[in-house]
């Protein structure tokens, strides 16, 4: 594409995926995954999983987010516009989730627990999982993001990832036959929901406007089709689905641990690949309508 063609053709979003922008992809992914692990673990009193989720969110996700900033030491200013900015709100949600989550873990470890605290932690954990979806949804210049389905997809994938990792942790704590069975039920439902959501999301964005159509084509048929079909569909969905189907007959406790771990790893890879495509495939509407048919960008 020539330099000035962005006035009449869609242009790719680059700041939040190219170069250092990859840190933001990882930040959103690990923050939501960590919160998802913690969220699921609270329902089963899985202290180890809670700790893993807390650390993933705080250290990996939070660290990546801080590293992405141009001036990291000014991050404390990011709570100034809670009334309008989703990044501000997200920082509040993450901070309160981490603080309350830490207190919750300490209380549980001491043999004490507070239902009110648990509910509060879960509320902020859920808000932590979903806020990035709203942050992207706010951008009305990018049809691929400006859809009500995106926050829901982020919420489902965050909880699904959390449940999967929590299941993996039960392999090490020896609780597969108890907690693992319940987690498997969560995973079956969330996996099905995620598949339906992704299909509906791509179809609905395709009908939004020509830029939305170009975004979906770019992801599904364009230069990123290998990542979509191999990364998201086959690795991220088909393989885990196959394992879920097999476990329906054998029972999760009888599945080989290696297969379960592979399924969990593939699910996380597929989720990360989908998030990458959502950021990479994002196209801005052109500034003015073109008199010529819109051409696909390709990669």
């Amino acid at each position: 594409m020539k330099l000035n063609e962005w006035m009449v053709k869609p242009t790719q979003q680059t700041e939040w995926i190219e170069g250092r922008g990859i840190l933001l992809l990882l930040a959103f992914f690990f923050i939501e995954l960590g919160a998802g692990i913690f969220f699921v673990a609270t329902f089963f009193d899985g202290w180890t999983a809670m700790l893993v989720g807390w650390l993933v969110c705080a250290v990996v996700g939070g660290g990546a987010h801080i590293l992405y900033l141009g001036h990291p030491f000014r991050f404390w200013r990011m709570v100034s516009r809670v009334g309008s900015s989703w990044i501000s709100r997200g920082l509040i949600f993450v901070s309160l989730f981490l603080l309350l989550g830490f207190v919750h873990m300490v209380l549980i470890r001491g043999g004490d627990s507070s239902p009110v605290l648990m509910v509060s932690v879960n509320i902020f954990a859920f808000l932590t999982i979903i806020y990035a979806g709203f942050a992207l949804n706010y951008v009305n210049g990018i049809p691929l993001w400006n859809t009500a389905l995106l926050p829901i997809i982020y919420a489902v994938s965050g909880i699904w990832g959390g449940a999967s990792v929590a299941l993996g942790i039960t392999l090490f704590t020896g609780e597969v036959s108890t907690i693992g069975v319940s987690l498997e039920e969560w995973i079956r439902i969330l996996l099905l929901a995620y598949i339906v959501l992704i299909i509906v999301y791509l179809i609905s964005v395709r009908y939004t406007n020509p830029t939305g159509k170009a975004s979906v084509q770019r992801i599904v048929y364009g230069g990123y089709w290998p990542l979509m079909w191999i990364g998201v569909v086959f690795i991220g969905l088909v393989f885990p689905t196959a394992v879920v189907v097999i476990s329906l007959s054998t029972g999760i406790e009888n599945m080989p641990p290696g297969v379960l771990c592979a399924a969990i790893f593939c699910e996380l890879l597929g989720d990360l690949a989908m998030r990458y495509l959502i950021l990479k495939g994002a196209l801005y509407n052109p500034l003015i309508p073109s008199s010529a048919p819109l051409q696909e960008l390709g990669a």
Binding site: Q13, R74, S84, I87, Y284, L287
Partner: protein
């Protein structure tokens, strides 16, 4: 009072004077543009359409960037509607850059970036970037309607948009007077009259941002 600009696309000849003058007066480094002239051809010969579109920050009344900024670095001045960035507050998250549907913001990465890599900065570039108009690296920058010139001009009692010392650089630089600057809240101002008489339009009004920059065809 709400400062705004009208750009007459019928007059614009695509000479890039506005773009160059803005870059020079603000000592902008490579790949940082506050003013752009977009020229595009669409269609297939013989049915070809050439379009010239000078673009700057629209200083929207309902700016998406202002709502997106988590630190309050991006603000809209209540007195005159200019949207500006306080570099000392900017954390460099680039959410405002993403949120702007017109893609008018730039992340200023490195003030020592050279136009000809390996040859160093010229004396003029060094003076411009370090003394005349220093920009803070690792922050988001954009057009500010030359607000320093407007403030200085108002302080001296000049007429904004009419007297050259109180008018944005790009408006002064245009050789065909395709850019007009004035108060959109004043129905008797030159910009308001032009918008009404010649049916001026903003870019993408459906976004609800209410831009302060309008175009005439």
């Amino acid at each position: 009072m709400r400062w705004g600009m009208v750009i007459d696309r019928k007059r614009c000849i695509g000479c890039y004077a506005c773009m160059v003058s803005c870059k020079q007066s603000h000592a902008l480094p490579p790949e940082v543009f506050w003013n752009r002239v977009l020229i595009s051809e669409t269609g297939v010969y013989p049915m070809v359409t050439k379009q010239i579109l000078p673009v700057i920050c629209n200083h929207c009344k309902e700016a998406a960037c202002v709502n997106a900024c988590p630190t309050g670095a991006t603000e809209k001045r209540e007195a005159d509607g200019i949207v500006w960035v306080d570099a000392d507050k900017c954390v460099g998250c680039r959410y405002c850059l993403i949120a702007c549907p017109y893609q008018m913001r730039t992340f200023h990465a490195d003030k020592r970036q050279e136009y000809w890599p390996g040859q160093g900065l010229t004396e003029l570039e060094r003076f411009g970037r370090e003394e005349l108009y220093p920009l803070q690296p690792k922050t988001v920058v954009k057009c500010n309607f030359c607000m320093e010139r407007l403030e200085e001009g108002q302080r001296r009692g000049l007429r904004v948009g009419i007297d050259r010392e109180a008018t944005p650089i790009c408006v002064n630089a245009c050789p065909v007077k395709a850019r007009i600057f004035g108060d959109l809240d004043d129905p008797g101002s030159n910009v308001s009259k032009l918008i009404k008489e010649r049916r001026g339009y903003p870019l993408h009004p459906e976004y609800g941002t209410e831009p302060s920059v309008c175009y005439l065809d």
